[in-house]
């Protein structure tokens, strides 16, 4: 939760267009945003800023979304942080891998920004 009382959302994607798109949509919806360009940055940002939610792209260079999720779950501070994975890989075992890593939800690419917004709301509301 940020100073102004808005939830803080971490968004990580190596595609700057998507990063911008998602950020724009969620900012419009009134969330505070912190961006990361890869898994390593995402974990670092999460530990520093303690966001209320992380949206992680699966296919990222160096540390991918699965690995980032796994690392977040290893830290006490981020252990319970909700994680939504963005994935273009929609085969069964890909989804299963995501849940195994500790993700709370996943959104298939291509997704509608609106749909993503409602997922975010749902995950935050669940808490």
């Amino acid at each position: 939760m940020t100073d102004n009382g808005q939830p803080l959302i971490l968004i990580a994607d190596d595609d700057p267009d998507i990063l911008a798109l998602v950020s724009f949509r969620l900012q419009k919806a009134g969330y505070e945003i912190v961006q990361a360009r890869n898994g390593e940055e995402a974990v670092q940002a999460a530990l520093e800023r303690r966001p209320d939610l992380a949206i992680l792209d699966v296919m990222m260079p160096r540390v991918d979304g699965y690995e980032a999720t796994r690392r977040l779950r290893q830290h006490e501070e981020t252990k319970r942080m909700p994680v939504i994975l963005l994935t273009a890989r929609v085969q069964e075992d890909d989804i299963a891998r995501g849940f195994d890593a500790g993700a709370d939800d996943y959104v298939k690419k291509p997704f509608s920004p609106q749909e993503l917004g409602s997922r975010v709301q749902a995950v935050l509301g669940r808490r």
């Binding site: 267009d17 273009a88 890989r89 291509p110 920004p113």
Partner: protein
């Protein structure tokens, strides 16, 4: 033979006498001669010694010491000495020498001898004061001149005033005067002796001659007597030899006759005087043994005949007549020998029988034959009963009327022999197979005509209806009543016939077999060879029968057949033995053998049989198959690899396509929501086109990914209870705007249908596909009818359109990926060719079936049937058709 001295000898006696007399006279003459010579020589030597001694005396004053101490060399001295010692002047000697005591000649009348040295022992004797004489040759110690025979004398040489001789003087004188003196003495003596000899002969010769004559006469007489004696002796010898020859001839004759000759004394009963050696062959006793053993004869007579033979002999002797009798004797080895005994009785001057001469003839064979003859009738009956066949005598008529028929007939035809005798109950013709009867008649008729035996095979019928094969042998004979009859025998050969048939059948099976079938003897020689074997190995039967089995073996494995044969002979069978054999043309072939022992009736192994199958082709095709399988596996591996690459590619592509599409759609959405400012109507319309196409692209990516999943076998269904009717309604509604736009009538008819187990979203996709397809391919004014119903436990969905239809040749490809019909392509109807492939995959994943029925130009119907897994009563009711 000793001969008296010959008559010509007396003159030789005279000659010998004359010779001896001459020899005696010659010896006497010789003795006188030697005596005279000796006397002459001694005289001559004495004279020579005296001459030498005289000369030595005269020289003692003339000679210097040096003449006897050193060889005289100076010519002056030599001249002095030569003048002093002139041999001619010294009694006519031929040579003079002066010797030094050590044997050196210091001077010689022959100068060449001066200085010569001879070890003459005589010198020492002479130096001691004696004298020595010799005979020899002048040049025995060297020198010149004629080497005449000489006598020599050595005398000591003393110098004047000296007692001791200082040297030796030697004189040589010619021997010839001595010989001349001897010759003069001998001549008168020889003349006297010769005269004496002649006188002796003249007085003795007449006496000698007379004596010789007397002797000659005497010796002639002696010679005559000796010749006579000789002649007489020879005659005697010849007579004796002739006698012996005759005797041995008769004896040989007697002893070679095939009978025993004997002589026995009647007054000494049981004692034989002579028996010929054949007794040994007849009874096993040697003649010596026979003669030495009293009463042996009576002991070997058969006990049953003994009394009779005694009586016959006694009667025969009493009658004094030759007689003959027959009886049995028992040989040493127990044989019973029948003999005929022919006896001649010899009487003495008073007429009393003294000797029996006779012979024993071996008649055993004759007797045996007689006995056999008497038994023959009985034997005939027994034999006939024992013959394993029917013996008969019949008339040569149409009925074969039987005169005799052995009981064996009952075995053959089931009726007793008595039935046939004289055609009592039935004729023999009635049991002959009708087809064979004419042949039998014809053969018998021909044989009778030729008067030869015949053999014929025919069939007879048994009472039980079975047919027997028989062989009949027979011959016509002249019966006692003068009628010609048929004698013969009939043998049942049914078994043999059957066996032969069986054998022929087997043989033809063997012969026609494709496999090589052969047999070998225990010694390893091929004994049978079928045409299959000819094909497989290339040899004809004629070429291999009798050859060793090793001819079929390749060179590097020549022993194998023999090793196998050994195992077979040990009773082992070997099946499916695969090995290599060599054909006649040398090529090697792969064969599979099955070997078994061949046994004779007793079960003993007498050889081996082999069945060989040429598996060269099979081996080759096995290898080919192996190779193809490997190739296939290889290809599969490559295909799998390609497939994996394709899957990776599809996954990558879909990801790489989705990410930009996400951006496109996301930003479009923002723009269309006027988050970036308000839009004009035209802008909104254009952006709508972009969005639609982005959506199409996305759908395509989704379809590709779906199919990749299906093919990877990774399609999984999210199964739940699904209401197909609801899904159909939903899909129809989805398609409705497009249908209306195209002026296509779209209807849905649903019957009562249970919920089925299925994946909701996949089934939606399926129905969307089919309905949108129908609409797409139906021209304006047409219709698309969708029906959902329950049928025989299945949920059935039908989508029927009135579209352009699908030609039947295209229908089979309809469900393939990327397949598009020719018309769809021609008319540029949009589509990827993936829809039906996906539909089929979804249906099959649900365990259902999809089928298409279409006629070109009149429309197409897709029919899907899915099993209803969740049981719920489903009644088939009339489908309610609803226009939607």
């Amino acid at each position: 033979m000793i001969r008296p001295p010959s008559a010509g000898k007396p003159p030789r006696l005279v000659l010998r006498f004359a010779l001896y007399s001459a020899l005696a006279l010659a010896l006497a003459g010789g003795g006188i001669l030697l005596f005279v010579r000796h006397e002459a020589q001694v005289q001559a030597e004495k004279e020579l010694t005296a001459d030498a001694t005289r000369a030595a005396g005269s020289l003692s004053t003339e000679l210097h010491r040096t003449d006897l101490e050193e060889t005289v060399k100076s010519p002056a001295r030599l001249k002095v000495l030569d003048d002093l010692i002139q041999p001619e002047l010294m009694g006519g000697v031929v040579r003079v020498k002066l010797w030094r005591g050590d044997g050196t000649v210091t001077y010689a009348s022959d100068h060449t001898l001066i200085g010569s040295h001879v070890d003459a022992e005589e010198l020492q004797e002479v130096l001691a004061g004696g004298t020595v004489r010799e005979t020899g040759r002048l040049n025995d110690e060297g020198g010149q001149g004629k080497n005449i025979k000489v006598i020599s004398a050595y005398v000591p040489l003393r110098l004047a005033g000296e007692q001791q001789p200082r040297g030796v003087l030697e004189f040589y004188n010619d021997y010839a005067p001595i010989e001349a003196q001897v010759g003069a003495t001998v001549k008168p003596v020889a003349l006297a002796l010769g005269l004496a000899l002649v006188l002796l002969f003249a007085s003795l010769f007449p006496i000698l001659h007379q004596v010789t004559k007397a002797l000659e006469h005497r010796s002639q007489r002696l010679e005559q007597q000796a010749d006579e004696l000789e002649r007489t002796l020879n005659e005697r010898r010849q007579a004796v030899a002739g006698l012996r020859e005759a005797e041995s001839r008769y004896r040989a004759l007697v002893e070679q006759l095939p009978l025993v000759t004997y002589v026995s004394a009647i007054d000494k009963p049981g004692f034989s005087a002579y028996v010929s050696p054949q007794i040994d062959g007849l009874l096993g006793y040697s003649p010596d043994e026979w003669l030495a053993t009293p009463n042996l004869f009576w002991r070997v007579v058969h006990p049953d005949d003994l009394e009779r033979v005694r009586n016959e002999h006694r009667t025969g002797y009493a009658a004094n007549q030759p007689f003959s009798t027959q009886y049995r004797l028992i040989a040493r080895d127990g044989r019973v020998v029948w003999v005929e005994d022919q006896v001649i009785v010899i009487s003495d001057a008073t007429g009393a029988p003294v000797q029996a001469q006779g012979f024993l003839l071996d008649i055993t064979h004759r007797k045996t034959a007689e006995v056999a003859l008497s038994d023959s009738e009985e034997r005939f009956r027994t034999l006939v009963a024992n013959v394993p066949g029917v013996i008969f005598r019949c008339s040569i008529d149409n009925d074969w009327t039987m005169e005799f028929l052995s009981d064996e007939i009952e075995e053959l035809v089931g009726y007793p022999a008595s039935d046939f005798i004289a055609n009592e109950v039935r004729t023999f013709a009635s049991v002959i197979h009708p087809e064979d009867a004419p042949v039998l008649s014809a053969e018998v008729e021909a044989a009778v005509a030729d008067d030869r035996p015949y053999t014929i095979e025919y069939r007879t019928a048994h009472r039980d209806g079975s047919i027997r094969h028989v062989v009949e042998r027979g011959q016509a004979i002249l019966g006692r009543d003068g009628e010609r009859k048929l004698d013969g025998a009939i043998f049942d050969v049914t078994q043999r016939w059957t066996a032969e048939n069986e054998r022929l059948k087997l043989a033809s099976i063997v012969e026609s077999s494709d496999d090589a079938i052969m047999a070998a003897t225990a010694k390893g020689h091929l004994s049978s060879w079928n045409s299959g074997a000819e094909r497989v190995f290339g040899y004809t039967a004629e070429e291999v029968i009798g050859k060793p089995i090793s001819i079929l073996a390749p060179l590097d494995n020549e022993d194998e057949p023999v090793l196998i044969l050994d195992r077979i002979l040990a009773g082992q069978a070997i099946a499916h033995h695969e090995t290599v054999r060599k054909r006649k043309d040398g090529t090697l072939i792969d064969v599979s053998f099955t070997f078994s022992p061949l046994r004779d009736v007793s079960g003993a192994v007498i050889g081996a049989s082999a069945i060989a199958h040429d598996i060269t082709e099979r081996r080759r095709s096995d290898a080919e198959r192996e190779r193809l399988l490997l190739e296939l596996a290889d290809q599969n591996e490559r295909l799998r690899e390609l497939d994996r690459l394709k899957d990776e590619f599809v996954a990558l592509v879909s990801h790489e396509l989705r990410t930009p599409l996400t951006s496109i759609r996301g930003y479009l959405e923002l723009v269309l929501e006027e988050e970036a400012g308000s839009l004009t109507e035209e802008q909104r319309q254009f952006l709508g086109v972009v969005e639609r196409n982005a959506h199409r692209l996305l759908a395509l990516v989704g379809d590709l990914l779906f199919l990749a999943q299906v093919e990877a076998g990774k399609l999984s269904l999210d199964i739940g209870a699904v209401d197909l009717s609801a899904i159909a309604a939903e899909s129809v509604e989805t398609a409705r705007p497009i249908a209306e736009e195209k002026e296509v009538t779209l209807t849905l008819a649903t019957g009562p249908l249970a919920l089925i187990a299925g994946d909701h979203s996949r089934l939606v996709q399926l129905l969307d596909n089919l309905i949108s397809n129908g609409v797409k391919f139906t021209p304006p004014g047409g219709r698309v009818d969708v029906r959902v119903k329950s049928q025989r436990g299945n949920a059935v969905i039908e989508v029927r359109d009135t579209g352009m239809g699908i030609p039947s040749e295209e229908q089979q490809h309809l469900f393939e990926r990327f397949f598009r019909t020719a018309k769809a392509t021609e008319q540029a109807i949009p589509g990827t060719g993936l829809g039906l492939a996906i539909s089929k995959a979804i249906v099959e994943a649900h365990g259902g079936q999809i089928a298409v029925a279409s006629a070109d130009g009149t429309g197409t119907t897709f029919r899907i049937s899915l099993p209803i897994r969740q049981t719920q009563p489903a009644t088939e009711e009339p489908v309610e058709e609803l226009a939607l």
